[in-house]
Amino acid sequence: MNMPEVLLDVQNLVVKYKTKMREIRALDRVNLAVEARQIVAIVGESGCGKSTLGLSIIGLLPMPPALVESGQIIFQGRDLLRVKEAEMAMFRGTGISMVFQEPMSSLDPVFTVGGQLREAIGVREKRNTRRSYGPFARVAPEDIHGVTGGAMRMFGFRLPRSRPKEVLSDEVVQALKKVQIADPETVLGKYPHELSGGIAQRVMIARALIERPSLLIADEPTSALDVTTQAEVLKLMRALRDEVGTSIIFVTHDLAVAAQVAEVVAVMYAGEIVELAETREIFRKTSHPYSEGLIGSFPEKYKDQGMLETIPGDVPDLRSQIIGCKFNPRCKYAFDRCMVEHPDLIEAEAGHKVACFLRSPR
C-alpha cells in the first residue's frame, strides 16, 4: 500500500488579529493535513476562525491587522508563510484557488463572463509554458496558435501569444457545459449582474475548473444559494475532484452539507480544531461535546417528536479570555480539570482526533 500523498500540511498555525486596543487569537495551534484528491470540510459557527484558516492558506489575510505568529503551511514542498509575495502570486489561481460565498462580489462587474474566463486560460498557460529561446525552443502543443515563425524564434522573439478568441471561447464553453449551464454561448456574453446567484456560482466553479488548481478553498460556496441549486453545486464539487483531481477545503457552517460532500470533517470552535476524523466516524462516534451539541441541535424531527437539544449560552466572543477548555462555559460535561487545563487535539482512536479530557487517556 502506498502512502497517501499529502498535498497541504498546516502545522501549529497561530494567527492573531492585532489592533492598538487588543489582540485576538483567531487561530490557535491549528494542525490540518489535506491529501491529494481529498475533500475536507471545516465546520464551525461564525467567528470560529474557519474563514481565517482559508485566507491564511491562500495568503490573502489582511495584514495588518492579521499577524501570523507561528506555524507552517507546507504546500507542494514549500512553506507558504515564508515565500515571497511574487512567488505566492504564482501559486494563486493555478496552485490554490478560492471560491467565495458571494459569487457576485468575486466576479468583475465590468467584464463579461467570457472575458473573465478567457483571462483564466491565459494565466494558466502563461504559467505552464516557460519562456524558452533558440531554434529548438519547446512549444507546448496548446500554444501553437500564437507562436511566431521559426526564424523569429531563433532570435528570441516571441510575439505576445494571442490565440484566436474563438479557440479560447471553445474551452470556456466546454467548462461552462461541465458546470451544467444550459446555454453557455449566451452566458458567455453576459455581465455578472445579468446572472442569477446559482449561475454566477457555477461560473466561479467553471473558473476553478479552467485554472486546474491542485487545491480549491471553497468558503461557504452554497450558503447564498437555494436548496435545489445547492444540491447541484455540491455535486459539481465532487465532480471537480473526480475529474480534475483537485483537493477541496470546504468551509461551511452547516454540518449536513459537510456530511454530504466531505471525506474528512474538522469541527472548529473558538479558533481551534476540536474534532477531526473521517466523515462517517464523526457522525457515528461523535466524541467532542460541541460536535455532539451541533448534531443534536440540527432540526431533523417532526413537531410532535419533542424539542431540540441545544447548546446553552452563546457563540464565544474571541475577545473574552477563557481559561482551560474554551468550550467549558457551554459544556454540560465540564468538570474541574476543564476549567484550568487546556485539552490538546490528540488521537483518541486511530484516525479520530479529539480535544477533550473525557476522551483522552489520563
Binding site: E45, S46, A182, S196, G197, G198, I199, D226, V227, T228, T229, Q230, A231, E232, L234, K235, H253, D254, L255, A256, V257, A259, Q260, T279, R280, F283, G293, L294, I295, G296, S297, F298, P299, E300, K301, Y302, K303, M307, L308, E309, T310, I311, P312, D314, V315, D317
Partner: protein, 335 residues
C-alpha cells in the same frame, strides 16, 4: 370556530415603473406577479410553514396578510372580520392582534433605543400606556423570552445575534397578539443558537396560544416547527397539507425536488440532484399553463396550456399539479 385566518385569492402585483413616454407610446404596463391568487387558512394555535425559494413571493405574502402591502385583489379574513379593505383606525385596531418578526435582528432593532424602549414602543403606539402596567408587561415578556433582567437599559448592539432575535420576539409579544408572521427568524443565526430560538418559539406558542405563519426556505426547519406546510413557487401555492403527508408523500414535483435536495446529517444518504431544468422563470411574464412547466421533468402538453388549480387530492392534502394522482400512486416515499 377554529379558523383564525382565511386568505382567499389573495393577489399582489407590483407594477414596474414606466415613464409617461412609455404610456404615450402605448406600451403595456408590466407587473411583477409576486403573489397570485393564493388561498389558504390558518387554524388557531397552529403553525403553517411557508416554504419556497428566494423570490417565490413568501415574504410578500406574509407582508400582504398583515396589510403592510395593500393587496391587488382578494380577501383576508382575520378572526371573523374581513380586513382587506380596512383603512386607518379600523386597521390599527386589528394590527394589535398581528405581529411580525423579521429575519435580520440587526436591521429590525433601532440602534439608538434601549431594550426597554424597543419593547415598550408597541404599547405606546396603541396609547395603551400607563407606566406601571407597561413595566409589568415588559418584565413579563422579557422573562418569557429568557432575557436577563439587566438587559432593559442596554442597547441592541450590546447583544449577540440570538439575544437580539429574542428582543425582537419580545417586542412582538408585548401586545398579546394572536398571530405572528415569522419571516425567516433564524436564517441569520448560528446553528447552535438557531435551535435555542426554535425551541423558544415553540414554547411561546403553547404558552400564549399563538398562531404562526413560519416563512423559511429550510425544509428541516418547517419539519420541526410546523403542523402544516404550504409550498410556494413563483407566487402560487403548489402544495398544502399536513407536514408529515407533504414530506413523506409529496404530491407536486417541485416539492419532491425540494425534499430530495435537502442535505441530511447522514453521510451515507447523499442528496440527489433534483431533476429540474434551469432556474425559476421571470415573475414578470410567468409561463403559460403551469408555472413550473419549464423546469418540470414530467411536463406534458396539458401543462403548457392549462393552469392547474390547487385542489384537494387526498383529504387535507392539496396540490396544484395535473398529475397529482399519478404522483400519489407511485408515491415516492421520501423517508
Amino acid at each position: 370556530m377554529n379558523e383564525l385566518l382565511l386568505v382567499e385569492d389573495l393577489t399582489k402585483y407590483f407594477p414596474i415603473e414606466s415613464t409617461i413616454l412609455d404610456r404615450v407610446r402605448g406600451r403595456r404596463i408590466l407587473d411583477v406577479h409576486a403573489v397570485d391568487a393564493v388561498t389558504f387558512d390558518l387554524h388557531r394555535n397552529e403553525t403553517l410553514g411557508l416554504v419556497g425559494e428566494s423570490g417565490s413571493g413568501k415574504t410578500t405574502l406574509g407582508r400582504t396578510i398583515l396589510m403592510l402591502e395593500r393587496p391587488t385583489s382578494g380577501k383576508i379574513v382575520f378572526d371573523g372580520q374581513e380586513i382587506s379593505d380596512l383603512r386607518g383606525s379600523e386597521l390599527r385596531k386589528i394590527r394589535r392582534e398581528m405581529q411580525i418578526v423579521f429575519q435580520n435582528p440587526v436591521s429590525s432593532l433601532d440602534p439608538r433605543m434601549r431594550v426597554k424602549d424597543i419593547v415598550t414602543e408597541p404599547l405606546r403606539a396603541f396609547r395603551d400606556f400607563d407606566r406601571k402596567s407597561a413595566d409589568e408587561a415588559v418584565h413579563r415578556v422579557l422573562e418569557a423570552v429568557k432575557l436577563p433582567e439587566d438587559s432593559l437599559t442596554k442597547f441592541a448592539h450590546e447583544f449577540s445575534g440570538g439575544q437580539k432575535q429574542r428582543i425582537a420576539v419580545a417586542r412582538a409579544l408585548v401586545l398579546n397578539p394572536k398571530f405572528i408572521v415569522l419571516d425567516e427568524p433564524t436564517s441569520a443565526l448560528d446553528s447552535s443558537i438557531q435551535a435555542q430560538i426554535l425551541n423558544l418559539l415553540r414554547a411561546l406558542q403553547d404558552e400564549y396560544k399563538l398562531s404562526y405563519l413560519f416563512i423559511t426556505h429550510n425544509i428541516n426547519i418547517v419539519k420541526f416547527t410546523s403542523d402544516r406546510i404550504a409550498v410556494m413557487y413563483m407566487g402560487k401555492l403548489v402544495e398544502v397539507g399536513e407536514t408529515k403527508d407533504v414530506l413523506e408523500h409529496p404530491l407536486h414535483p417541485y416539492t419532491l425536488a425540494l425534499i430530495v435536495s435537502v442535505p441530511r446529517l447522514d453521510p451515507d444518504k447523499k442528496v440527489e440532484t433534483p431533476p429540474l431544468h434551469g432556474e425559476m422563470s421571470s415573475m414578470i411574464n410567468p409561463p403559460a399553463g403551469c408555472r413550473f412547466n419549464p423546469r418540470c421533468p414530467y411536463a406534458q402538453e396539458i401543462c403548457m396550456t392549462k393552469e392547474p388549480e390547487l385542489r384537494e387530492v387526498v383529504t387535507g392534502h392539496f396540490s396544484a399539479c395535473h398529475f397529482a394522482e399519478k404522483l400519489f400512486e407511485v408515491s415516492p416515499t421520501t423517508e
